[in-house]
């Protein structure tokens, strides 16, 4: 294998790893990069094919995932998280509209008179549901915005 090509392959891999490992603590990142650079240098000194060595190392993101470990915070995709927050916000608007509508029905049935008693009770129950739902969605939206 051509030495220049080997150099290029090693540099490409280490560059990709350097970019991928930006999520790690600086010290942890430096150690990881030096370990893998060392690995590839040793492989080259032993006359092992560099392309094969790189393939066997695995993709940089796999190595970084391992370095992040189980207890490290998993970075969530921001677009996904924003979408979920937006859905909670839509839920909040709908439940507030629900509550307003049931208040309107309550007022209307109160004005219409005692003959509409069942409507009064039904609208009351629906209103309580709407208010609970409003508080619940509002709490979720607030929690997501605070993150």
């Amino acid at each position: 294998m051509n030495r220049t090509t080997d150099d290029e392959l090693i540099n490409q891999y280490l560059e990709a790893l350097r970019a991928e490992s930006a999520v790690l603590a600086p010290n942890q990142r430096a150690v990881l990069l030096s370990q893998l650079e060392n690995h590839l240098e040793e492989a080259r000194a032993d006359g092992v094919d560099i392309r094969t060595s790189i393939d066997q190392l695995g993709r940089p993101e796999e190595v970084v995932r391992e370095a992040l470990g189980e207890d490290a915070p998993v970075p969530t995709a921001p677009s996904n998280s924003r979408l979920i927050t937006a859905l909670w916000a839509v839920g909040l608007v709908l439940s507030v509209l629900w509550s307003v509508a049931s208040v309107a029905v309550l007022i209307w049935s109160a004005v219409a008179g005692a003959s509409q008693g069942w409507l009064l009770i039904a609208a009351g129950v629906v209103l309580v549901g709407g208010v609970i739902l409003s508080f619940w969605t509002a709490r979720n939206v607030r929690q997501r915005l605070q993150r």
């Binding site: 695995g58 190595v63 391992e66």
Partner: protein, 108 residues
């Protein structure tokens, strides 16, 4: 995987590539690069230490060796594993006997 890495380093001081190749030869690791973060964790936990070995004209190599705590860990793992392997073996051989019994019982 951690105990296996410790056991390999316990056999003798190893350098990274050598360690990874042994694990790989036994099909114990898919992505060889993931062994290094594991080694770092073992070092953070005080089970493994590493130093640069400079010998003659060879390029310097980082070698890994067990600390006293690491040696204790390997001993503990070995005895736990022996007990576990014996239990598994017992259960498996019971199972084989059951199957043979059933075959004898159901045959014709």
């Amino acid at each position: 995987m951690g105990p296996l890495v410790l056991a390999l380093i316990g056999q003798r001081d190893r350098y990274g590539l050598e360690l990874v190749k042994v694990l790989s030869a036994h099909d114990l690791v898919v992505s060889e690069g993931t062994v290094y973060p594991l080694l770092s964790r073992l070092m953070t936990n005080g089970l493994v230490e590493s130093e640069w070995l400079i010998s003659g004209k060879d390029r310097p190599r980082r070698i890994y060796r067990l600390t006293e705590e690491g040696k204790n860990e390997v001993r503990a793992f070995r005895s736990e594993w022996d007990a576990f392997a014996t239990s598994v073996q017992d259960v498996l051989s019971e199972n084989t006997m059951d199957n043979e019994d059933r075959e004898i019982g159901t045959d014709r």
